[in-house]
């Protein structure tokens, strides 16, 4: 493996995996002076199957829910060793962040560790077979929120993890998308230039779980942003410092490319609800 490659190809991610692209963008922006703690999930599984590893930085995986606490230990050890210049990243999927790992993450934020936490948000438990998480969007079909006579899929809205992070008073919170790689890289670099806890939630399409063509990953990621369903925002010291302006595309354009929403396409009422979510975001963050 070439020493300057921090996330090597040859891993076993699916074709079109948004998380694999985002993970590479993250570590290439962070650079080699970085230690990563990784929760259990797709990224861990496809990048570190013994005896191979994609990682060109020191990297540790322990369990599903504890990367934030493991990273806290790493950061404390670096403090003890006087190596305060080394960056620490704790990264996880949406389940590892918003559900099972939220307690450890909250502890890490509250204690003020100098750590960047990343959530690769592909909106369900993809590694175990597309079960619903608390970041699964409204009306998305998953294997535990199936569509049926009495169900339009997932009945709840996405948990506002960025707002939960903000409520901890941490100095930097942002959302990003693999569809906007330069914006993503800029945010990683900015986050790492700030001391203290940081949180970045990255929208990453999953062709297998969202049931779209692998070559549409980039387009779908961009449509999520352009519809207003996934606003790209940035908070510095608790104040909204940027929100990416969008051209405002109707949500159907985003939904119709993904079979997880195919049951909605002739259902005006449900689509209206989703358009409402986008409209609220557009208004709240002045996206247009």
């Amino acid at each position: 493996m070439r020493e300057d490659i921090l996330f090597a190809s040859g891993h076993t991610a699916c074709a079109g995996c948004g998380q694999a692209i985002a993970a590479r963008l993250v570590i290439e922006s962070a650079g080699p002076n970085t230690i990563i703690a990784n929760n259990t999930g797709c990224l861990e599984v496809f990048s570190t199957k013994y005896p191979e590893s994609s990682w060109g930085v020191p990297w540790i995986h322990s369990l599903f829910e504890n990367a934030a606490a493991v990273a806290s230990g790493i950061e404390s050890a670096l403090q003890y060793l006087g190596k305060k210049n080394i960056q620490v990243i704790a990264q996880a999927g949406d389940g590892g962040t918003a559900d099972i790992g939220l307690q450890a993450l909250s502890g890490m934020w509250e204690r003020g560790h100098n750590i960047l936490s990343i959530c690769y948000d592909n909106e369900a438990y993809m590694n175990t077979g597309i079960q619903r998480s608390s970041l699964t969007p409204l009306d998305s079909e998953t294997t535990t929120t199936p569509v049926g006579e009495k169900s339009f899929g997932n009945p709840t809205l996405k948990k506002p993890v960025a707002e939960i992070a903000l409520a901890h008073g941490i100095p930097y919170v942002a959302t990003a998308s693999v569809g906007f790689p330069q914006d993503l890289q800029k945010k990683i670099k900015k986050a790492l230039s700030i001391r203290g806890p940081k949180y970045i939630q990255i929208h990453v399409p999953c062709p297998l779980g969202w049931r779209h063509e692998p070559n549409l990953t980039y387009r779908i990621a961009r449509l999520a942003v352009e519809t207003g369903l996934y606003p790209l925002i940035e908070y510095e010291n608790g104040v909204l410092s940027s929100a990416r302006k969008i051209s405002v595309v109707a949500v159907e354009e985003y939904l119709k490319l993904q079979a997880r929403f195919k049951h909605l396409l002739n259902n005006e009422e449900e689509i209206k609800k989703i358009q409402e979510i986008a409209n609220n975001n557009i208004k709240r963050y002045s996206l247009s």
């Binding site: 080699p32 002076n33 970085t34 230690i35 703690a37 990784n38 861990e44 599984v45 570190t48 199957k49 013994y50 005896p51 590893s53 990682w55 060109g56 930085v57 020191p58 990297w59 540790i60 995986h61 322990s62 369990l63 829910e65 504890n66 934030a68 606490a69 493991v70 990273a71 806290s72 230990g73 790493i74 404390s76 050890a77 670096l78 403090q79 003890y80 060793l81 080394i86 307690q103 450890a104 909250s106 502890g107 509250e110 204690r111």
Partner: protein, 393 residues
């Protein structure tokens, strides 16, 4: 230097002598006095360490996992529910071969909730890959933490060690303790030099996915290492005696007046002190009784126990924990040692006592010795209150 110390205070000061760079803990009775004392030492500048006040025991174990992986000696302590909440992390620490040292202030497991002492918590984690010591008194608690780091960090071992001390009885009891000198601890316990660590100069991947082609060998390797502990620990306790003057034999078991004994109790932890007292009393009356104390429960020193008990006609095994639905844990393992052996006690009987902090008195121990003379082989709960069992729960 001899000091009059509470067990927790003594253990905290012993841990401080080992200079852990990271300490993480979450409060649970009866462990609390240990991290409190350590945080005080850090606050007063007497101990240079990062003290991390975590939001759960799961994170306490995860923090010391991360810091040890970074090459820094680390420490945590817990009890009961806290140890169980740490459970999956503890298996993980052993699998990652990280030499963490943890104090378990032994306490009963809920429900019903009970803050008092038995050993169900650490016994339930016996299969986690950690070495486990059970100490009899505060002096042993002090000494075995220093021994624990030396053992855990040995490059041929690289496994975590749990020092189990009975909650309240030892954590809140007060004794005159010979506290080791810093210079002696430094001589006995060299600075931690990890075999591998998270290091930007040499970027390793730790915590791989190991599938069917690789997983089994990692478990086999831990099993082999536990065998090596049985050979290494006697050398470490030998060194310990040379530096500190206190003799723990081979550090695996202790026999007390067993040479000609006809009846022996096998036990672990603070109850061994009570048993020694009863043994002395009965010996004065000419009864040939003795005690076998198991210090190291993991790895289980099968050969040493076999040698110590093979000529003893009657053996009582005293468990302060259960394997509900089966025979008691220590009893089961003592029995297994003698299966198929030519020489063996004629009787090995299971006694359960002291669950949820019920006192094990001199009379409780005398009753066990007395009942060992009976013909029955039934499992027996000592000091059970039959009047409470009338109504079915």
């Amino acid at each position: 230097m001899k000091r009059f110390l509470e067990g927790s205070q003594a253990v905290a000061n012993s841990v401080a002598l080992c200079k852990p760079g990271v300490i993480a803990a979450y409060p649970i009775t009866p462990q609390t006095h240990i991290p409190e004392e350590l945080s005080k030492l850090v606050a007063e500048g007497l101990l240079n360490s990062e003290f991390v006040n975590v939001e759960s025991e799961h994170s306490a174990a995860s923090v010391v996992l991360g810091s040890t992986a970074c090459g820094v000696r680390s420490y945590t302590a817990t009890s009961s529910q806290g140890l169980l909440l740490m459970g999956e992390v503890l298996f993980n620490i052993a699998g990652l071969r990280l030499p963490v040292v943890l104090t378990c202030a032994n306490r009963a497991v809920s429900a019903p909730i009970n803050i008092w002492n038995d050993q169900q918590d650490s016994i339930s984690l016996r299969d986690s890959g950690w070495a486990q010591f059970y100490v009899e008194n505060i002096q042993e608690a002090v000494d075995f933490h220093i021994i624990a780091y030396r053992l855990a960090e040995d490059r041929n071992i690289m496994l975590p060690v749990m020092v189990c001390m009975d909650g309240y009885i030892l954590t809140h009891g007060v004794e005159v303790v010979d506290m080791p000198e810093q210079k002696d601890v430094d001589r006995f316990l060299p600075a931690y030099k990890p075999l591998y660590k998270l290091d930007i100069e040499n970027p390793l991947t730790l915590g791989f996915l190991a599938d069917t082609d690789y997983y089994m060998e990692t478990r086999f390797a831990i099993q082999k290492t536990h065998q090596e502990i049985l050979d290494l620990l006697p050398k470490i306790t030998h060194d310990f005696r040379n530096v500190f003057g206190r003799d723990y034999g081979e550090g695996l078991i202790e026999t007390y007046r067993t040479t000609d004994a006809e009846r022996v109790i096998v036990a672990m932890g603070s109850v061994c002190g009570t048993i020694k007292e009863v043994v002395d009393q009965l010996r004065r009356k000419g009864k040939k009784v003795g005690l076998l104390k198991v210090i190291t429960y993991r790895p289980f020193p099968i050969d040493k126990i076999y040698e110590a008990l093979k000529n003893v006609p009657k053996v009582a095994v005293l468990d302060r924990a259960l394997s509900l639905g089966a025979d008691a844990p220590l009893y089961t393992e003592i029995r297994a040692i003698f299966f198929g052996k030519k020489r063996s006690p004629k009787l090995i009987r299971s006694f359960i006592a002291g669950l949820g902090g019920r006192d094990i008195t001199l009379d409780s121990i005398k009753e066990i010795f007395k009942k060992l003379s009976l013909k029955t082989t039934e499992e027996e709960f000592i000091d059970l209150k039959p009047e409470l069992l009338k109504d079915k729960v």
